[in-house]
């Protein structure tokens, strides 16, 4: 017989302990706040102001006009000028500039003959920077009085839905919800049982009539509210500071987040029944947290990952939540449209709770 009375006793105890643990309580609020501001402003896939060098061997008006029009794009910032290509290469090697634009001495002649005008030498190690420069490959030159190049004809017209201005924050903020919830939810519960063991409370607790499943459920319920507070902070600030549109319904967002919070909490509980010390629990949390950031689609698109990485990614609750929450918040989808992810999160919670409560033995054997 599962007793709600006993579960309530544990919940009240957990809430009391949580509210007296100032540092943890502070983490609940400060963590989403600081990370949101940090990531919201810092993570930007829209590259601007890459430091470059210009080697203008033509010393002509055309050379100066071309340099200016490259600057006007704001993609690059000319910080050095060199006389030879060798000097520019050295500067790239030293890391002073990321790329160099080399305009040869026969520049005007090339313009007339309609040939390639110059060369970009790029430090290609960072693919985001190289693709930003690659985009300049066929940039139109409109600053001349005459058309020096025939206008290019587009093959396709592209329409961007949901984030037409291509602001990174729109994609980052809902994703950040997944990362922060993964971090705090798993961390809180992964230490939950271990802490009782370390402080010696467990031996008493297992000589009482409480059932494993009651203990497990009662341990996660208070943290669901903690998770919801964080959701409120992240989406609220994201909406007001970073102008992230909340297109989906609030009920759908809450329901989706609730599913993810429960899944993360039960994952934390599973860790808690394996770890012997709080330190071990922490290490295991990091073990889950890193792939949740790197493989969940938060930073890099899922579609670009190799198949094996996709399998790992499919196991993580964070991956499913990223799809779910981006779908709901940005694309106005609902949980039925994304039923695969909804089902996965719900299943993960149930299985996780089951595993945690069967692993948690009320004996010391």
């Amino acid at each position: 017989m599962i007793s709600f009375y006993r579960m309530n006793a544990v919940m009240v105890k957990e809430i009391r302990q949580l509210s007296r643990d100032r540092i943890t309580f502070g983490m609940v609020v400060m963590l989403p706040l600081i990370q949101l501001l940090l990531f919201g402003f810092a993570i930007n896939t829209d590259i601007r102001q890459i430091p470059i060098a210009v080697v203008d061997q033509s010393q002509s008006t055309a050379g100066r006009v071309i340099t200016e029009s490259v600057k006007v794009t704001q993609v690059v910032n000319v910080v050095k000028r060199f006389a030879t290509a060798e000097e520019a290469e050295q500067a790239i090697k030293e890391g002073v500039v990321k790329a160099a634009l080399i305009l040869p001495s026969d520049l005007t002649q090339r313009m007339v003959q309609n040939r390639v005008l110059g060369q970009w030498v790029v430090d290609g190690s960072d693919t985001m920077i190289s693709s930003a420069i690659l985009a300049l490959q066929s940039m139109p030159l409109t600053d001349f009085d005459f058309d020096i190049r025939p206008p290019t004809v587009k093959t396709f017209e592209v329409v961007l839905f949901y984030n037409p201005s291509r602001r990174s924050a729109v994609n980052i903020v809902p994703g950040l919800l997944g990362v922060i919830l993964t971090m705090t939810m798993i961390l809180f519960t992964s230490t939950a049982i271990v802490r009782e063991r370390e402080r010696g409370n467990l031996e008493l607790l297992i000589t009482t009539p409480i059932h494993s499943i009651e203990l497990m459920v009662a341990k996660i319920v208070p943290y669901i509210f903690v998770g919801l507070v964080q959701v409120f902070i992240i989406l609220g600030l994201g909406h007001f500071i970073f102008d992230v549109p909340i297109n989906g319904s609030v009920a759908q967002i809450l329901l989706g987040t609730l599913l993810f919070i429960s899944a993360s909490l039960s994952l934390g509980l599973m860790i808690s029944t394996v770890a012997q010390t709080q330190l071990q629990a922490m290490q295991m949390t990091v073990f889950v947290l890193l792939p949740s950031i790197l493989l969940s689609g938060f930073m890099f698109p899922y579609e670009g990952m190799p198949e094996v990485a996709q399998w790992i990614s499919e196991v993580l609750p964070a991956t499913h939540f990223m799809r779910l929450i981006r779908g709901v918040v940005l694309r106005e989808a609902d949980l039925f449209d994304l039923w695969r992810d909804t089902l996965w999160l719900a299943g993960f919670t149930v299985v996780g709770l089951f595993i945690a409560s069967t692993r948690f033995k009320k004996t010391l054997d």
């Binding site: 105890k13 008493l204 009320k362 010391l364």
Partner: protein, 308 residues
């Protein structure tokens, strides 16, 4: 129903290659305070954990309050109170909150619970500490709180694992008063200790060493059955005398107490003082008395062998 609250027969508990308890048979009559005396690491705590169902025995039968353990351990948990060796309540909760928590876990309704908390607070002298958090409370206060929590649901059987190891003598005396009060009300109590004076207060006693029960019975009986006479010798050069005494083979043990030497002489020797005088001429004029046996003597007598 059996007359025993605890009946354990031939219990063995092994951890890997290490045998913590070896063929222990234990019968604890209802309503009695039963002491478990033994040095640290002798298997007292393991025995308690087997009896409460926290550890399953490698072999042997355990029957506690008519329930077969470990099979019916969950049912047993409603009927017993357990005070662990380490303080195991919550430091960051107040006295009252801890009691509430335990009471609710044992399914006490709110009306009964608040009434019971008031009662327990008075009984254990924690009235003024009601709202105080446990962190920063003294060893004695923690111990009283532990006992108050362990007896919240009026258990039939109470397990106390070295309950007084962290408290001063005055608190210990008071604590025992409370145990006798509980016993008076019909609670059976199993208490482990390594203090002799504490063991002496128990109705019955088992002396345990290296996982084996070396002796059990009422403290007085144990003292009578020791098979030695005790002579206290007041003399010079006790250290060398002790060596010589032990070498004779008629002496079970000799322990120095300040200026005296407490000598345990086997009862084969009818006149121990006379024997000492004749065997050791230097003791001709020494002051010697027959002393009343103590539990420490019992302990030394029954456990000596295992120590070597």
């Amino acid at each position: 129903m059996s007359e025993f609250a605890i009946e354990a027969v031939d219990v063995v508990k092994q951890f890997g290659n290490f045998t913590a308890i070896e063929n222990v048979t234990l019968r604890v009559p209802k309503g009695c305070i039963y002491g478990f005396l033994g040095p640290n690491g002798c298997g007292k705590s393991t025995m308690i954990r087997v009896l409460t169902g926290l550890l399953s025995p490698t072999s042997g039968q355990v029957n506690v309050l008519g329930l077969s353990i470990p099979k019916q351990a969950e049912l047993l948990k409603l009927k017993i109170g357990y005070m662990t060796q380490q303080f195991s309540l919550y430091d960051d909760l107040s006295v009252e909150e801890n009691m509430q928590f335990i009471g609710q876990i044992f399914g006490m309704g709110s009306k009964l619970l608040s009434q019971r908390i008031d009662e327990q607070l008075v009984t254990y002298g924690l009235d003024s500490k009601r709202k105080q958090r446990v962190e920063g409370m003294s060893g004695g206060q923690r111990q009283r709180l532990s006992l108050a929590c362990a007896t919240m649901h009026k258990p039939e059987l109470l397990f106390l694992d070295e309950p007084t190891s962290a408290v001063d003598p005055e608190n210990r005396r008071e604590f025992w008063e409370q145990l006798f009060e509980l016993s008076e009300q019909g609670t059976t109590i199993l208490v482990t200790t390594h203090y002799m004076d504490e063991a002496e207060r128990c109705h019955r006693l088992a002396v345990m060493e290296s996982g084996v029960i070396r002796a059990d019975g009422e403290p007085d009986m144990l003292m009578k059955q020791m098979g030695v006479n005790i002579v206290e010798v007041k003399s010079e050069q006790l250290r060398s005398l002790k060596q010589k005494l032990l070498a004779t083979g008629a002496v079970r043990s000799a322990a120095q107490l300040g200026v005296r030497l407490r000598v345990l002489i086997y009862q084969d020797i009818i006149e121990p003082i006379q024997w000492l005088k004749t065997t050791f001429p230097e003791l001709q004029h020494a002051e010697m008395n027959i002393a009343r046996p103590s539990l420490e003597d019992v302990f030394v007598c029954v456990t000596g062998e295992g120590r070597q």
